[in-house]
């Protein structure tokens, strides 16, 4: 049945004639269709090496980019000493980190303590392997896709790796033998598990309309114009859910409770120094890039885009489109960090369990109904709506049960000067 589905897909997509598709679409990288000759191995090794090096350089650039953008948004200058515009700042920092003393606390479980950074870094590298960065390249008699690997499980690998990466954080906090890292790692595991459900369900909505788990097939299903992007086909909402859930999954601001500097010193990596700390840092920023790329793959058509009739444009234009979209999302992550204050822990859980999970489930049901039979979507809509009303009512009842007065007024609001206040009750002044 799967084979039939895949065959059906292959026909459907090869008809589109996009440079991102190949004759055996959905059956993995066409590179392997002629067996494993030495040329195949060379291409493979080159692909892996290029991806590795480019990802490392991109991470360095991302760190620089984040620091520069955040400083611009805070009206500062930012790194400007190492290299032109401070471009080599990350290199300088990395060099410094390598030569710093490597401390392993006496109270720590030293084997686990040393293992944890690798558990964080390696999944960060592996995740990027399934991201399609460009189209199909023909080299002699060999045809291959511009992505390190195109396994049939595709997008599941991303979820699996982000699940494994939690072990890095969790073990780091647990093995440090210190309270702040432990608190940070407990928060991290709770947070990531909470948001993984919503994340998984939004991914399923994408898979429902793409009919495949393979990232290449997901991208190919979005070719031929931006109106075919999942962003529009799925109606924006899953994208917003995915964006929120993935930011929480990355433990990036405003969901950075795991390393909340003001509460937990450094969170799970408090006790780490030298390059072990550097590896956590590397993993964090690499994950940011990877997840930007995953968002682009799932909702923004990946390397799809307008290809002008220039010579060789089918090779480099998809790359450029992919790069542009990914950089845009990297910017958005930095923007999140600049604009949003950190959530309180109860707010985080509230958003995850009471809002994101039910809403993404509802949207998943809607999409599933529409995909199976258009009219059943119309039937499903009122059901979902009724469920939503009931749920909101239930949460309202729940929060009324615990006295409202016992909850502090929402923090972080600037009290406006009296002259600017509109007539009416003022918050915190008039009851």
């Amino acid at each position: 049945m799967i084979a039939a589905l895949l065959a059906h897909l292959g026909v459907a997509i090869s008809a589109t004639g996009s440079p991102l598709t190949s004759p055996n679409q959905g059956l993995g990288d066409p590179l392997f269709s002629q067996g494993f000759t030495w040329e195949v191995w060379v291409i493979l090794v080159v692909k892996v090496l290029v991806a590795f090096v480019v990802l490392l350089i991109a991470t360095a650039m991302m760190i620089w980019f984040e620091r520069k953008v955040i400083s611009d948004m805070q009206s500062r200058i930012g790194p400007n000493r190492a290299g032109p515009w401070g471009l080599l700042q990350t290199l300088a920092d990395g060099t410094k980190l390598i030569f710093k003393e490597d401390l392993v606390p006496e109270q720590s479980d030293s084997f686990t303590f040393k293992l944890a950074p690798y558990l964080s870094t390696v999944p960060a590298f592996i995740t990027f392997a399934v991201v399609p960065v460009g189209g199909i390249i023909r080299l002699g008699s060999h045809t291959f896709e511009l992505q390190v690997a195109d396994p049939p499980i595709g997008i599941l690998l991303v979820l699996a790796m982000s699940g494994i990466a939690v072990y890095g954080v969790m073990l780091a906090g647990w093995s440090s033998g210190s309270k702040y890292p432990l608190l940070g790692s407990v928060r991290a595991s709770a947070q990531v598990i909470s948001y993984e459900a919503a994340l998984g369900m939004t991914v399923v909505t994408v898979v429902l309309v793409s009919h495949s788990l393979s990232t290449r097939a997901i991208v190919a299903a979005q070719s031929n114009g931006f109106w075919n992007w999942n962003l529009i086909r799925l109606g924006f909402v899953p994208f917003i859910f995915f964006m929120i859930a993935i930011t929480a999954e990355l433990t990036r601001p405003p969901f950075d409770l795991t390393e909340a500097d003001s509460e937990l010193v450094g969170g799970f990596h408090t006790e780490y120094s030298s390059m072990r700390f550097g590896m956590f840092y590397l993993a964090e920023f690499m994950n940011t890039i990877t997840m930007s790329a995953v968002v682009v793959t799932l909702f923004f058509g990946g390397p799809n885009g307008l290809i002008p009739p220039w010579p060789g444009a089918t090779i480099y234009m998809p790359l450029i489109w992919f790069l542009l979209k990914t950089v845009a999302f990297c910017f958005i992550y930095v923007w999140f960090r600049a604009a949003l204050p950190r959530l309180r822990y109860d707010q985080l859980m509230d958003l995850g369990w009471k809002r994101l999970i039910p809403m993404s489930l509802a949207w998943l049901l809607l999409v599933a109904a529409v995909v199976t039979w258009h009219w059943s979507g119309l039937i499903m809509a009122p059901v979902v709506l009724a469920a939503a009303v009931l749920l909101v009512r239930a949460t309202r009842l729940g929060s009324d049960a615990t006295k409202r007065d016992s909850v502090l007024p929402s923090v972080g609001r600037r009290v406006a000067p009296a002259t600017r206040l509109p007539d009416g009750p003022r918050q915190g002044v008039d009851a």
């Binding site: 953008v69 611009d72 948004m73 805070q74 009206s75 500062r76 200058i77 400007n80 923007w335 600049a338 604009a339 949003l340 000067p417 002259t419 600017r420």
Partner: protein, 278 residues
Amino acid sequence: MGLGDEVKDQLSFLGGFKLTFQHLTRPRVTTSYPDEKRAKQPRQHGRHVLNRYEDGMEKCIGCELCAGVCPADCIYVRGLDNPPDHPVSPGERYGYVYEINYLRCIHCDMCVEACPTEAITESKLFEFSFTNRSDAIYTKKELLVDDRGMPQKLPWEDWREGDDMMTSGWMRATAPSGNAAYEGEVQWSGELGYGVRAPEGGQSGHRDDELTGTKPLRDILEAHLLTEDIPLAHRGMQGRVWRAKIGAEKNKKKMEAMRVRMNDLRAARKAAKAKGKA
């Protein structure tokens, strides 16, 4: 609260995105420090100097009041009776040992306020560093002014032009008894050879910042104030012209500095070439 208001309230966080994005285009409040230094304020507290009278006598009488008042315990003074044949200070005693530990000093200027003879005052110098703890202790040798009454420019210190002229002490940090009308009074101690500085303006707005050398931070940061906090003259079109003028001036200075640097480089290259030929 209606539904619309509630939605608006829930989405009010979007204002943060707008604000941070606007800030991308606003002028920076920081400067790239070692290349571009911000002017010092007249009240800046820097490293101390030990003053002398015009006849060369030291002002310090070794009373140890400064050491007593110091909240950071960074001053160590020992007084000694003046030798009758060649007195060091006009009083009975003089400061025999005078040491300030700059790893401890918080530059609160309470020593300056406590000193009965205005012997210890602060310069505006803050750009000095040391690589070991004993170097952080300044002794009388380093602190005492030279024969002209100017502070010594020690090789590891980065003095800016005109800094050494501003060593008089700020005698009162606030108006006496919190009297807001206490304005226009000279509150500086005298400066050797330069007399007394102009009185600083108070809170009333009748102030001459040009005369006193005050650089209000408000002007520097004005672009970042809320609209209602910006003076009327600097809002809207007028404000744009004003900002453009300031920007042009800044750019002019930058270009000038760059030209000077280029000229220096060119001269150096020429000199090197001439040397090579010779």
